[in-house]
Symmetry: C2
Subunit: 421 residues, 2 copies
């Protein structure tokens, strides 16, 4: 890795660590959106934004935004960002690294005496992680006109609506139109990979080709909860047998679709619940949730069709009913912008970094931002691919390398973005 | 079915219904051992015992015993019994029917002016169902010298030991030797079948040939809880995949062993727990519990060996570790006494009832009693085989027919049991 980067790796690292330290001490690292700790983290961030010379504000969708005007304000905005909230017992990097990257880029530009033609904004999106209100990417939904009244009416367990929570943290749910943007010309996000592809190939950065679409399916098998001692094998209606066959079918089909290439495909049975769950009772009911992700919607359709057929056949073989087969959610894949990807690739080349193109198997604010502007992402390697856990780790130099790639791309895009107004 | 039985079917039925009515009203039918409701049920039973002319006592193992002396006390005891506790949200018959049967037999003998040579005891065994202390058959273990210090030290969730609980309900855990019996010459138990064999063959009673041995195995697969979006299929360590393959292996092998005959064999995966259980996380750990039951220990050995091999192979194929493969419990099968079985078969023939021999796939107090005396059981059909559930049902006449078979057998055994002292 090249160590002579155009920004200050230590200064960037210090910010990441300082923000990570603002955590629930009983459950490191936890800074859940809408909590007092989250607001404490944002107050710290706003202070750092101000020290870097950024004009800081909250938009109506609750996003914290730092802004430095360009030479030609009419050219519009190049935005850089990610999120500062975490999952419960999450890590120090997921989200934070991307926000701190934007901040460091602004400081590095200032230190080098560079003033860009475009205005730069650093965005800390509100509530990227699934919030207590059952919604993720609240801020990027708001900024892209995708936060609707149904979502605002969602409540957390004690009854507060997302609408009230948004107002409580400084947003304005009644004027979300003000958060909707049409002046952003490019959005760039740095994030830890949350996978092991870069690490296993000893590469510095990944340039994201597209962000997967996610289809969630729920299947319920309904059999009979019989006595495990007195019910002969040939008279059983065991829901778990049908579920186990379906788990194997999902695995085999996902392996096949992934191996076919070139598109990315993964599928997982992450939830399998047996009812009743007792050693001496034949499982009467079994619910499983399948998560299928791909960059090619045609693969999802093939997968769902095949699992539909397979699970029905497995139910029949086990003499149980397939009581439910339904889609819980269905988000389409999003392609990253080719021009922005090229700027990132060129940046990595200029810096002498090892790079590859790769899809994002996780969702990100960039997926929503792509609805209103060209968007792209840089991944940096993280230890053993671990994320959403306290052991989540990315090296100081890895983050700095990824940030430097975005720095290079921002300077290039400032020159090369279309200037028609 | 013959309706002219040597006992009062209505009186027996009334007792079963009255005891069933002593239930947690919020969760019919629940009368958990060691609770106030359980003691209320026993107070009601003790009253009925006394009205039938029985001398009533609690033994040191917490069994409620009603006794009527025979003409020749030196001949020893013929015992009849079952249990009055239930599982949570259980049924009205499991256990209760067997206790009420003993009571009705004593009344029927009295009504017919018959005094037997042997002393008769009716036993309501303490805590036959798995108790909050993690142990079943507490009373029959105690009566047969099988309740040890390790068991007495077991605790329920709030911390009370079984030792203290036993004392609380009137037992004497420090003098369990007093509960140990050597004077019982025969033990007979009526129970609902908890299966559908008798019902499907339109038979009145089943004479139990043997009570299955139960082997419980726990297998834990340990993989890696990776991100379900970012972890390619070929880099996964999915514990649920190994577990699902094992569920299928258990099912196939159990079907094969059951089909081979003539021995009874069933095996069930009743518990399968995924950790973490989240739609977007590859299962990192999976625990399953296998319950295998047979009348032939050689089949258990074959089964365990095969599942040991299979589960290890499935773990390797899924790139996970088989972190645990262990026996949680292992009770041997118990053959019912041939002489007592013959007495029951003859009783059924005398009454003109349809009968068959069949194994018991469920455990019963009779399995422990067989350690100290000849023991046998009569099964009566129950609707659709349902048990341990509120819809558990046995017809009035079905219970009365089974009770009459035991009545006949008791009279026969009173004549024919060996009289050497």
């Amino acid at each position: 890795m090249k160590t002579n980067l155009p920004l200050d790796a230590d200064r960037l690292w210090t910010d990441v660590m300082a923000l990570a330290d603002i955590t629930d001490p009983a459950k490191p690292y936890t800074r859940r959106s809408f909590t007092a700790l989250f607001l404490e983290g944002r107050a710290w961030l706003a202070q750092r934004f101000a020290e870097a010379g950024l004009a800081t504000r909250l938009d109506a969708a609750g996003n914290l935004i730092g802004r430095i005007e360009g030479n030609d304000p009419a050219l519009g905005v190049i935005a850089i960002g990610s999120h500062s909230d975490t999952v419960p017992s999450g890590g120090r990097f997921d989200g934070i690294a991307g926000v701190a990257t934007g901040l460091e880029i602004v400081r590095a530009l200032r230190d080098s005496g560079t003033r860009l033609d475009h205005t730069i904004e650093i965005v800390d999106f509100l509530a990227e992680e699934p919030s207590e209100y059952g919604l993720s990417c609240v801020g990027s939904r708001g900024m892209t006109g995708s936060l609707d009244e149904t979502m605002l009416a969602l409540t957390e367990p004690s009854g507060e609506t997302l609408r009230d929570a948004l107002r409580r943290v400084g947003g304005d749910p009644d004027r979300l139109d003000r958060a909707r943007r049409d002046d952003i010309r490019a959005f760039l996000e740095l994030h830890i990979e949350q996978g092991i592809v870069l690490e296993s190939r000893f590469l510095d950065v990944g340039v994201v080709t597209s962000i997967v679409g996610i289809r969630r399916l729920e299947i319920v098998f309904q059999g009979e909860a019989d006595h495990a001692g007195t019910t002969p094998m040939n008279l059983r209606h065991d829901a778990l047998v049908a579920a186990a066959d379906t788990v194997i079918a999902v695995r085999r089909l996902a392996e096949q679709l992934a191996a076919e290439g070139p598109d990315y495909f993964v599928a997982t049975v992450g939830i399998l619940a047996v009812d009743p769950s007792a050693s001496n009772i034949v499982p009467g009911r079994c619910r499983l949730v399948i998560d299928a992700r791909t960059t090619n919607p045609a693969l999802t359709a093939r997968f769902v069709d095949a699992i539909d057929r397979d699970s029905a056949a497995h139910a029949a073989a086990a003499r149980v009913a397939r009581a439910s087969f339904k889609t819980l959610s269905d988000g389409p894949p999003v392609a990253c912008d080719p021009k922005l990807r090229e700027a990132l690739q060129q940046g990595a080349r200029d810096l002498g970094l090892g790079q590859m193109d790769l899809p994002s198997g996780a969702g990100h604010d960039a997926a929503f931002m792509s609805r209103i502007c060209p968007s792209a992402m840089v991944f940096v390697p993280c230890l053993k691919g671990k994320s959403h856990a306290p052991e989540e780790w990315a090296d100081r130099d890895a983050i700095a390398a990824g940030a430097a790639v975005i720095y290079q791309a921002v300077k290039e895009l400032d020159r090369s973005l279309p200037r028609s107004r």
